[in-house]
Subunit: 350 residues, 4 copies
Amino acid sequence: MSETKTKVGIVGATGYTGVELLRLLAHHPQVSVAAITSRQEAGKHIADYFPSLRGVYDLTFQAPDDAQLDQCDVVFFATPNGVAMKEAPALLAQGIKVIDLSADYRIDDITTWQHYYKMEHASEEWVAKAVYGLSEWKHADIAQAQLIANPGCYPTCVGLPLLALLQANALNSSSHIIADCKSGVSGAGRKAEIGTLFSEAGDNFKAYGVSGHRHLPEIRQTIAAFNPDIAKKFTFVPHLTPLIRGMHATIYVELNEGIDALQVLQEAYQDSLFVDVMPNGSLPETRSVRGANICRITAYRAPETENNQWIILSVIDNLVKGAAGQAVQNMNIMLGLPENTALNCMPLLP
Amino acid sequence: MSETKTKVGIVGATGYTGVELLRLLAHHPQVSVAAITSRQEAGKHIADYFPSLRGVYDLTFQAPDDAQLDQCDVVFFATPNGVAMKEAPALLAQGIKVIDLSADYRIDDITTWQHYYKMEHASEEWVAKAVYGLSEWKHADIAQAQLIANPGCYPTCVGLPLLALLQANALNSSSHIIADCKSGVSGAGRKAEIGTLFSEAGDNFKAYGVSGHRHLPEIRQTIAAFNPDIAKKFTFVPHLTPLIRGMHATIYVELNEGIDALQVLQEAYQDSLFVDVMPNGSLPETRSVRGANICRITAYRAPETENNQWIILSVIDNLVKGAAGQAVQNMNIMLGLPENTALNCMPLLP
Amino acid sequence: MSETKTKVGIVGATGYTGVELLRLLAHHPQVSVAAITSRQEAGKHIADYFPSLRGVYDLTFQAPDDAQLDQCDVVFFATPNGVAMKEAPALLAQGIKVIDLSADYRIDDITTWQHYYKMEHASEEWVAKAVYGLSEWKHADIAQAQLIANPGCYPTCVGLPLLALLQANALNSSSHIIADCKSGVSGAGRKAEIGTLFSEAGDNFKAYGVSGHRHLPEIRQTIAAFNPDIAKKFTFVPHLTPLIRGMHATIYVELNEGIDALQVLQEAYQDSLFVDVMPNGSLPETRSVRGANICRITAYRAPETENNQWIILSVIDNLVKGAAGQAVQNMNIMLGLPENTALNCMPLLP
Amino acid sequence: MSETKTKVGIVGATGYTGVELLRLLAHHPQVSVAAITSRQEAGKHIADYFPSLRGVYDLTFQAPDDAQLDQCDVVFFATPNGVAMKEAPALLAQGIKVIDLSADYRIDDITTWQHYYKMEHASEEWVAKAVYGLSEWKHADIAQAQLIANPGCYPTCVGLPLLALLQANALNSSSHIIADCKSGVSGAGRKAEIGTLFSEAGDNFKAYGVSGHRHLPEIRQTIAAFNPDIAKKFTFVPHLTPLIRGMHATIYVELNEGIDALQVLQEAYQDSLFVDVMPNGSLPETRSVRGANICRITAYRAPETENNQWIILSVIDNLVKGAAGQAVQNMNIMLGLPENTALNCMPLLP
């Protein structure tokens, strides 16, 4: 472990985004993971906890207080909502860079956040300073940021295509946007709950959060930054689908006359490393990005309709571009490294 | 096997709708399966082909010509598209009742059918006489029919909630209807194809048929019977999801001011044996109808939108209410039997 | 609900064996479910808990103390280990018949039970009176019993073929028996645990309990009743496989010279309603019994070996013949009803 | 594409081992893929065939005759059995190195091969020259070889632990070895067949090839090289389990008195890059090696038995260490490169 490497800490490394950060950082040439914390698993060697990491890391989980996170250059919070807002400020005060994978710093409006997350916010002042880390759209801000609010998986999968259309002024502002989204079960996290047991979520499909999922205000805020009126005409329904990783958004929009959604998307992302706009007739499938920091998108003119109705298809791996991968991408930007360092892992197909 | 039982034949009994008909009819008290046909498996005992039916049926597959289908009272066609239109007319001419689970007789407009199914239609005269067998909406016609065009799975899952709203004049006719549908893989049939292999369709999610699925004109025709203008503002996107059985439709509609979708649905189906409108806040899941001839539906007012936007959720087992179960339901109606005879099988959960 | 029907109570009806009992009993013509208990869900209507049962039962969970179980004729315990041994004796004392689906009364030797189940036994006297309910082998005893220790899933799947071989004196007593077993995840029950989450148990295969699973002494006891020496030469390894229901045992035995395992099995079960010995060359698959109270078995002479080595394949649905189905079968025997009453449900394939 | 890189060709690159080779070689620093062939897909760009490889390769499938494979330094055959034996000899005659992932060159005894593979062998002379590429055991031979017979997945998963025990003379030669193996469905290849459809192989478990799988003589040959007598007392039963990738072998052996299997395994593989012997009490699971070129092994003394009976657990990813990964490992050895070049990909968990 070279002295000159950037020292990284991971708070809450026992969850799925935590182990995914560890997978991605394992061969990062400029970074070394110096500390992993877990209150519950303190003292346990990582090889005994995640056998997939045997022989790769020689690390032991530490209680947060023992972990000397203040010796790190960058700290990731891969914690449940409500932890980072309490624990990050002390690190930030010491000049440490923080990337929060939870939702604590994502919503500018504190009242909205408190309504959706059912708790008091503990560090409002840092909400204002945090940069929302949708990497492709906030590159310059991220490069300067000390605190990144890493986006949610749904907001990433929906936001990437939608922002390109919004920027191009393509959306018919009098019509309604529908985002019908489907997520793999790992999106629910590594928590002991009946609803995500194999025997409950397997061979089963259902909607959830229909009356107001927490990612609704997050996506709405993203849209509103471009067009507050359109943000009010937005419906989002998430569904749970029996796959481990993967997220698919099917977005229904009416575009202004003459606009071709696919062309807008291709122009927006023609130089992108991580957003792949697929040609006419393609069908992005979740496995084509399994394990990779890629968003694949395409668009179809809705068949046999008179108005300029379009169907946008967008897929990501919810744990990579929807969480840990985008977090590493943001870290690379913050550190001035090539954006794709350690992010060239190929999709696992089949 | 009592002499007085209705004799049933099944053409193409080696597919998933065929074996499902056999499962459902196994304990039907008024019906006996007299003949099963398969060109390819002729001579093979059913117990060697479907071990799930061992000890239940003593039947051998016969070539269609050897099967003496003209000795049957009712013949089901569980065949690929294009077979029933050639083989059913001879049986119909002898007064035999026919229930076609394929698409041959579903579309009134022959040009549209030929466009979508890429073949010449072989018995146009019977298209006009066929009754579209959406049981809950065509009960009287079905009771009198000789030929039933058994509906497709998507048209059943989407049509059942939509027809209730159309009948109540609930839909805002200036807005667009979106039906985002997800199907289990058994909907693709029991065909040797790479796309539906376990290693392709497993742990994977994708849209398909986006530029115009065959069930689009079928649903459009169903809507148009109530309101041709609304039928033109309809978008349908099917998706393949890694479950064996099950279909989920998420339907987005704008309703006329003051109308409550859930109330409309509850009134429409309050006496229904097979359509279960679930209370406010429910989340219909596909496994809640696995193996059962039930459609479960509920509705949500879209959160935080100004116009009267609604989200309708509808689930069926694509092989039961979406195919073989509805076929048996239609047979019961045609024979004047209680509609739920042999259809009380409970959902298998988990 | 007819006055003359047998009144049934189910203690612990929120688990998988509980809901399976409810599915099977829904259309039982001589039985009515009068009470379901759950400490945690008391007051909740069953339709809100198990949507698959909507419209079928009008029952509400009750706290055990409120449930008037003493008004029932038969009480099923579908509870975690350690509950029935405390709560059943009071019911038994009032003459009520009890069928315990847990392990409390399965092991004759209290020391062994306490070693494997890590608790004190609370009603040793009833262990001696309980009948081990492997229906096919204890028919006469079950008919007279007041308390049934319903067998475990592995012991049923392994025991059914093995007992036939033991009874025929077929096993070479100097050689070792291997039972390599694979179970669907529902066998672990409906408990909030990380290990059986979809994202942990899905797309994954592993052995567990290798150093001594609780079903080892249960199977050993079953073997020992025929031949204590052979019971000492028995190895059992269970594995977790990503299917919801289903259990497959692959059993390796050396038989005495000249003995044909398949012939022994066929003779033993030729008149059996629920054990299906499949012909030479068959490959029993778990889905062929999905949802049904059937054990399918076949046997192969091990290829290219000199000694009389055999491979026995046995499949059940762990929740039906391995739990709730066998419990209903035992209830039918106890009540003098036809053994297959309410147990003719067909396997769900696909 | 540097001139100094080794040029690689892949024959039959449309299958699962083909796409896996492409995934692994994508970032190999000393190798460039120069040609991929497919008779059926000739002319199709790889990005249109495998979307997971979009942006990574700019290659088009060519008919084998057009592909100028003779310009390559190394050619992989990822073809069905029977192709390499016909097409490889011409390349071998020109001095090109060949790694055959099919079974054509694995079995020394031509009669046995012809019996199991049901065809005439077309290049017997090369069978004698081929090196069986179980990398950990044939390192020196592989380094000198021109033709590698890359081992089957089962023979790798079973052979790695078994060879360590054989080398240590640990096996009791009078007792029988059982290898009960479970494979993910991708092991069956990417072929349009009904038996491996999602709706057939999903939520299902079964044995297959019980009367004599093709990998039986391959494993037997591997054992016989150490001890021909023990090779005759070997039983192998493969099973199909509903996971995409992954293979688990459970091996039952009786060891000579006093021998500890785990210790033998640990000593044999203490310096191994790709064989990980896990400590006492571990439970190797297939996902811990998903996508990685690793075999994880552990061993348990069978509980409550008198003789020195052991249970060995071994897992690999059937497409990586069981096929394409081991092929790349062998190529690295042949080229004198570090054995793990391009093989450090981390397991994907979850």
